[in-house]
């Protein structure tokens, strides 16, 4: 990996000299064909700057996960444009799409850890895609597991971890490579209040240090104030977009 996708230090927060992390214009999305076709997202316009921490909330079934998977290039947009870090991902050939995903960090509603791998190895899988020495990888893995309160569980496989611990390993895996954009779907759902705080602090830290943009779906009103922006999605439409405290 090189250039745009590398690990060059980004000292300040939101870089204004580069394209926004996310630009969504006129996005529509529907599942199914013909009669069964069901619109899920309608006329979405959204821009997220680098170094911005955005929370998306809304009732169940409102299309939050669908929006996240479109922005993460896991689905192809049907109508409208999606520019992530300045690249129009609707137009990317498959091979470039595969590489493009290395710049992202996904945290899924289900943790999706590898049963055969230890916490340490799971996280290393993420770093293995990047050109780092083993020492560097090791330092990063140990550091992130420590900050997430998992120092004791480095070499545990998922079967021996609690639900919350698994979720934290999955979070570590998604952010250890300091991605440009983190897409997190209910990352704190399985966590108690203390651990939720720790995770949000990690996100804030990442945003501050590396200018990563975070797009996080959550229903948990307690965490809203951590975000720079709060977006409300109802029935596939953005109904409000505000800064907490506004």
């Amino acid at each position: 990996m090189s250039g745009e996708a590398g690990f060059e230090a980004v000292p300040t927060a939101a870089r204004t000299d580069v394209a926004p992390a996310v630009v969504v214009e006129r996005l529509h999305y529907a599942f199914g064909e013909g009669e069964a076709r069901k619109g899920v997202l309608f006329d979405i316009w959204l821009s997220v700057a680098r170094g911005e921490f955005v929370i998306v909330t809304g009732p169940s079934g409102s299309g939050k996960t669908t929006l996240l998977s479109l922005i993460g290039a896991l689905r192809s947009p049907q109508e409208g444009t999606l520019r992530i870090m300045g690249r129009d991902i609707g137009q990317l050939p498959r091979r470039e799409l595969e590489d493009f995903r290395q710049q992202l960090g996904f945290i899924f509603q289900l943790h999706n850890l590898f049963p055969a791998l230890t916490a340490y190895q799971s996280i290393q899988m993420s770093l293995d895609l990047h050109d780092l020495s083993l020492e560097e990888k090791d330092a990063r893995i140990v550091a992130i597991l420590e900050t997430l309160g998992l120092a004791e569980h480095l070499h545990y496989k998922p079967a021996k971890l609690s639900g919350g611990q698994r979720q934290r390993v999955a979070i570590a895996r998604a952010i250890v490579h300091e991605p440009k954009l983190v897409l997190a779907d209910e990352p704190t759902a399985a966590l108690d209040e203390d651990n939720s705080k720790i995770v949000l602090e990690r996100f804030r830290d990442l945003v501050r240090r590396t200018g990563t943009a975070v797009l996080m779906v959550t229903q948990d009103a307690r965490v809203f104030e951590s975000a720079d922006r709060l977006i409300q999605l109802v029935d596939g439409r953005i109904t409000s977009d505000q800064r907490p405290g506004d």
Partner: protein
């Protein structure tokens, strides 16, 4: 950093040994997969072992013939269906200064009965003039020629089927309903050709097969002066001999026999096809194992895709896994086969041998089998849909 610390970093794999972890993590599944594959490889081994025995059968006698050039009938099919040429053709070859000698060899199946047990056997009989020396290059045979000077005496193959005897102390047997005596032994082994071989003088051959005239020769063994090129001499012989006689080098004769045994006999076809069948059984078994494995692991593959792992990288994981399976299955199959072949030899006298060549060939086949199955199961990977993960 301490030196030992540094070596730890150097020795550690640069990336997570994903395949090794996956295989070691699911020991039970791995064991099931590997035993299926080991069985398929074992089948291939046994089939190829017998196939090798068919080839060895073709070469058993022909590779031991003491001749540089051979005269056969144009209608020669194989040793027990040789048809014949006039004996005078042998004398004609002596017109060439390159030819040192030309010996007739008479070939026939002989029904043999062990008089004490009544066991009946089918032996391959070779008759030749004692004066010309032994027609086969075998250790200790020349010294025993005196023992078959009396009529109806024979040298018998020690690798004969054990039930064939002879069990009488004086070596008495019945050959074509006449009494004969085994007065010496040699070690040859004829595989699928029959239960064993017997050597006798042309006189005895004429007595036992009274319908056969010694003027009709089945195989002419021509020996050349030292340093003479057999191909060249064969060319000259073709010029002086008429159409009723075909001149072949020893290599050509072996080729003819090998082709006959491999292509035109039931055993050749069965074991040839058995090998192919074993191979495809292996492919199917492994394909089932691998694609079931991929199916249960789809969310993981989808996760890897979402992380930015390329499809090609995932293909490599699947292929690597199938190669590890191939190697893990090969080792027990090799061990079992190596101890099975001596048992088969003991029970059947068939020349089935474990050779480095066979082991290497089966290893290559096993890897090919697993690569093919792995490739077939790759299609499933593309059904891993990262969009379903959220």
């Amino acid at each position: 950093m301490a030196a030992s610390e540094r070596t730890r970093w150097i020795l550690r794999p640069q990336t997570v040994p994903f395949v090794r972890q996956a295989i070691a993590h699911r020991k039970r599944r791995t064991a099931v997969a590997v035993s299926g594959i080991a069985f398929a490889i074992l089948v291939v081994f046994v089939q190829l072992g017998f196939y090798g025995a068919v080839v060895n059968t073709a070469l058993a006698i022909s590779s031991k013939l003491d001749a540089d050039v051979l005269l056969v009938s144009p209608r020669f099919v194989h040793l027990s269906q040789a048809n014949s040429i006039p004996r005078v053709r042998l004398f004609q070859t002596l017109a060439l200064s390159e030819v040192v000698s030309a010996t007739p060899l008479y070939l026939r199946y002989a029904r043999w009965r062990e008089p004490l047990t009544g066991e009946s056997c089918k032996l391959f009989a070779l008759g030749f003039p004692l004066i010309s020396g032994a027609p086969l290059v075998l250790p200790g045979i020349e010294e025993q020629l005196g023992a078959i000077e009396p009529s109806n005496t024979l040298l018998a193959d020690t690798l004969m089927r054990p039930e064939c005897g002879p069990f009488a102390p004086d070596g008495a047997v019945e050959v074509r309903e006449q009494v004969a005596h085994v007065t010496g032994r040699f070690e040859l082994g004829v595989g699928f050709l029959g239960d064993g071989a017997i050597l006798m003088s042309d006189d005895t051959f004429a007595r036992l097969f009274s319908s056969h005239s010694l003027d009709r020769v089945h195989l002419g063994l021509v020996k050349l002066a030292p340093g003479v090129d057999p191909e060249l001499a064969a060319g000259k012989l073709r010029e002086i001999l008429p159409e009723d006689t075909r001149v072949v080098s020893r290599g050509e004769l072996q080729g003819l026999l090998e082709r006959h045994w491999v292509e035109n006999t039931a055993v050749g076809n069965i074991f040839g096809m058995g090998t192919v069948a074993g191979f495809f059984v292996g492919v199917v078994v492994l394909f089932q194992v691998l694609s079931a494995d991929i199916r249960t692991q789809l969310p993981l593959y989808a996760t890897l895709k979402a992380m930015g792992y390329r499809d090609t990288k995932l293909y490599r994981y699947v292929l690597e896994q199938s190669w590890v399976f191939a190697l893990l299955g090969f080792v027990p199959a090799l061990i079992v086969t190596s101890s099975l072949f001596p048992l088969i030899r003991g029970a059947t006298n068939l020349p089935v041998f474990m050779t480095p060549g066979l082991a290497g060939f089966v290893l290559v086949l096993s890897l090919g089998m697993c690569t093919l199955a792995g490739t077939l199961s790759l299609r499933r990977i593309s059904t891993a849909e990262p969009a379903e993960l959220f």
